[in-house]
């Protein structure tokens, strides 16, 4: 069994990698890369060669390529010769400005050295010719540039992605020689009143802590790095994007670390648990008066849930509701086949299976808004909690329909089986037969779908979150596609694919647990 499970997990990881490779190949080779500049203000402000150079800098940042700049090359060359005074030397300036003359730059020996060095490595060259007015003055942003470009291979990109996928903080993470005291230890947490695991030398100060936010216990030790956002959240890590609370700032009465132990309180939205290390040289004067150590980079407390939290809360509640309501109705439908409830239930099943989700979502939104005055747009809702009600119900509806359908189907199948006829002949009451025999056997099939339906509600989130405008993972993907954000598209593919692969394995395991006759590994008799 363990061996089987190990094999399954290994194969799932393999599938995930294949899917990521395919998505990366498609996204990075088929999508016009300049699309990332459509919403970029910096790009708009730049002109001529400066814009061209900026594009390459961004391409490098987003992992399309790596490049070497001639100017840096010259600089490094002369630093070696003259040390810090290199910029005063006339031969440095002559070499540096050689590329400002399109006609003769290739005759300069340093340029030749640059070209030869990177041609040998298989780089391509991009020369931005200096742009001059007729008077000979350089146009704004028209300075010449010479770049050696190495287009990143998809497998290199994948390798980097996988290598950076998991990260674990250690006390050696901070490269600041001024920090001598490095440790990880239990400390009393002044903000929660409980204890916390506190690190020094790690990126985050609080590695494990409690607070009053769901899920109440948090950690910064281990993280999954899903990549970097391109356009939607310029340059931010996607893991941060999905795990950072959304909504308005939440100001509370707190104490800065330096005030701890005194009676000085400040109204601030800073989340003191989120602090990360700041190099000694970069500490501002204000920070020195507020903090006692170098952990001064913080994020804010917000009133909303995290992006992932939004999706999960709605997904879990709707799945629970679907099971709690759908199963009893399915059973009742089967018991009185062709009765009133059965007909109504069947009509509902047909409606939910046929009608496009978007259509019934809006029907529900209009109904809930008109009758119960529930908000149907998340952004404009005054009480955010109420804004979750309609989307959660919308997510419940399809799961409810399919559970009713299958529960009814399985119950009816079981009712006609021989063992039920035998039980009836033995004189068991109908109630006992249903409770002890039929329900249990029918449940076996239902159990298999539990992880899948949690997943389904998350995928259903694509439509629901988009329709109601809820900041969750589903809407994140749709928005990312609109903004040509390759980073988020890849990250969300990883996220959803791993969820679905996990739910398939979990479903099989639950099935084997629920039904002792089923053996997953073929070596244990029976087999499949």
């Amino acid at each position: 069994m363990k061996k089987y499970l190990f094999k399954r997990i290994l194969f799932s990881v393999f599938s995930l990698i294949v899917v990521v490779v395919l998505v990366m190949i498609m996204v990075y080779s088929l999508i016009e890369r300049s699309a990332i500049f459509q919403t970029d203000d910096t790009w708009n402000k730049k002109s001529n060669n400066d814009r061209g150079l900026y594009e390459y800098v961004q391409y490098q940042k987003f992992g399309y390529l790596t490049f070497e700049d001639y100017t840096t090359f010259v600089k490094n060359k002369y630093i070696e010769v003259y040390g810090d005074d290199y910029y005063k030397q006339s031969d440095y300036l002559a070499d540096k400005n050689a590329i400002q003359d399109a006609a003769t730059f290739q005759q300069n020996p340093t340029v030749q050295e640059f070209l030869n060095k990177y041609a040998a490595k298989g780089y391509e060259f991009k020369y931005f010719e200096p742009m001059l007015y007729k008077s000979g003055k350089t146009k704004p942003g028209g300075t010449g540039y010479l770049l050696a470009i190495d287009n990143t291979n998809v497998f290199v990109r994948l390798g980097k992605y996988i290598a950076n996928f998991f990260s674990f903080e250690t006390t050696k993470d901070v490269k600041d020689p001024n920090l001598t005291d490095r440790y990880v230890r239990f400390e009393k947490d002044p903000y929660s009143g409980l204890f916390a695991i506190v690190g020094s030398g790690t990126q985050h100060k609080y590695l494990l802590y409690f607070n009053d936010r769901f899920p109440y216990i948090h950690q910064n030790w281990f993280r999954i790095n899903l990549g970097t956002s391109y356009t939607a959240y310029r340059g931010q890590e996607i893991t941060n994007v999905v795990t950072t609370p959304t909504g308005d700032l939440k100001t509370t009465r707190q104490q800065f670390p330096i005030d701890l132990g005194t009676d000085k309180y400040t109204d601030t939205a800073i989340d003191f648990h989120s602090v990360t290390y700041n190099a000694t040289g970069e500490l501002s004067e204000v920070e020195k008066t507020q903090f006692t150590d170098n952990y001064t980079v913080y994020s804010y407390q917000r009133t909303g849930l995290t992006v992932i939290g939004n999706s999960f809360i709605m997904g879990i509640i709707s799945t629970l509701m679907a099971y709690l309501i759908g199963l009893p109705i399915g059973i009742a439908m089967a018991r009185k086949k062709d009765g009133f409830l059965d007909n109504i239930g069947n009509a509902y099943i047909v409606f939910i299976s046929a009608v496009p989700s978007l259509a019934y979502i809006f029907m529900l939104a209009a109904f809930g808004n008109a009758v119960f005055h529930l908000p149907y747009k998340f952004a404009t809702a005054e009480t955010k909690v109420l804004a979750y009600i309609l989307p959660t119900i919308s997510l419940t509806l399809p799961g409810l329909g399919s559970l009713m359908k299958w529960m009814r189907r399985y119950m009816i199948d079981q009712m006609n089986s021989d063992y039920v006829k035998f039980a009836r002949a033995e004189g068991l009451s109908e109630k006992e037969i249903f409770r002890i025999h039929i329900s249990r056997n029918a449940m076996i099939y239902i159990v298999h779908g539990i992880p899948g339906s949690i997943l389904f509600s998350l995928v259903g989130g694509f439509i629901t979150e988009t329709a109601y405008g809820i900041p969750g993972t589903g809407r994140l993907l749709i928005n990312a596609i609109h903004q040509h954000d390759n980073g988020i598209v890849v990250a969300m593919t990883v996220f959803y694919t791993s969820l679905s692969l996990a739910s398939v394995i979990l479903g099989d395991l639950l099935l084997a647990k629920a039904d002792p006759r089923i053996s997953l590994s073929s070596d244990k008799g029976g087999g499949r």
Binding site: V27, F362, T466, Y496
Partner: protein, 324 residues
């Protein structure tokens, strides 16, 4: 017995005679009631009055979705220069345009006719759903039959299925649309590139079940070639299963198209689409309800009619319902 053996030739002639040439053929036939599969399917199908109503509705929908846009070509930008034509209620639009049937349901946010819009968009949805269903069902059934029959193919395809089969369809479609770009045919590609996989896997399992039935084993023992077993033993058995799958696939494509166009990922702006109409009407669905509800209802109606029709056709195509 003794007496029987000693019959004289005369006596034998009285009891037996040789058949004439024309009688030989008919004597070989076994007399049974004539059974034609498709005739029985339609007999069972038309026995229910609700099916006749559904079929009439379907034909009506088909005709109006394909004929109305021919008579009155739909153009979103038709009245875009005249801002007084924007968001007119049905009555206001009817008075403004002198009771023209084009403005029966009012106008949308750019003065476009809602009535023409929903039929032109329904045409797009129907076309897309049928093209995608045809491609996916064809590839799915043919490959599924081979997949289920050959154990070698099975081991290869299972790996392929385990990699791609568990990824949510909407994710695949969204990412594909992102990569290929928007438009009718890119949507067809997005729906079919991996869409057949689920269908094929379903049929693989069905074929496996039938493959090992006794009559198939008997055929194999008699040396019937595989493709003949598939086409004669397996596929006829699957007709009703095929129709059932088709009935649930078609509304699925409509639903996906509506959502993707709504999210601005599906069809390009020039193609009339229910999803886009819903998106346009959504912002003002309380102030201008007539711009919003017609496309929602149309989308529901199209999907519902197709689903019910498919389910009932599937019931009728199951030979077990053919017994009187």
């Amino acid at each position: 017995m003794e007496e029987m053996m000693n019959l004289s030739p005369e006596q034998e002639n009285e009891l037996f005679r040789f058949l004439g040439e024309d009688e030989k053929a008919s004597s070989e036939k076994i007399i049974a009631p004539r059974y034609s599969y498709w005739k029985s399917v339609f007999r069972v199908f038309f026995r229910k009055k609700s099916n006749i109503i559904l079929l009439t509705l379907f034909i009506l929908l088909l005709v109006s979705a394909f004929i109305i846009p021919l008579i009155f070509p739909y153009d979103v930008m038709e009245n875009v220069t005249d801002s007084s034509s924007y968001n007119l209620s049905p009555t206001a639009a009817m008075t403004k345009y002198g009771g023209s049937i084009k403005y029966l349901l009012g106008t949308g946010s750019s003065g476009n006719s809602i009535f023409l819009g929903i039929f032109a968009s329904a045409q797009t949805s129907l076309k897309l759903a049928f093209i995608c269903a045809a491609i996916n069902m064809f590839i799915g059934v043919v490959l599924g039959a081979v997949w289920g029959y050959s154990k070698k193919v099975d081991s290869v395809m299972l790996v392929f299925y385990n990699i791609f089969g568990n990824i949510p369809g909407l994710l695949v479609q969204s990412v594909l649309v992102y990569v290929i770009g928007s438009g009718f045919w890119s949507l067809v590609i997005a729906f079919t590139l991996f869409g057949w996989l689920g269908v094929a896997f379903f049929f693989r399992t069905q074929v496996m079940i039938i493959r090992d039935r006794e009559y198939s084993l008997a055929s194999r023992c008699l040396g019937t070639p595989i493709n003949r077993i598939i086409s004669r033993n397996v596929l006829p058995f699957l007709t009703s299963v095929i129709v059932t799958v088709l009935a649930s696939e078609v509304p699925g494509y409509i639903s996906s198209e509506v959502f993707l166009s709504y999210a601005g990922l599906g069809l390009s702006a020039s193609v009339p689409s229910l999803g886009r109409m819903i998106q346009n009407g959504q912002t003002a669905f309380i102030t201008y309800p007539w711009t919003f509800w017609p496309p929602v209802i149309m989308a529901s109606l199209v999907a519902m009619i197709l689903y019910l029709l498919g389910q009932h056709l599937a019931d009728a195509s199951d030979p077990r319902t053919h017994m009187l």
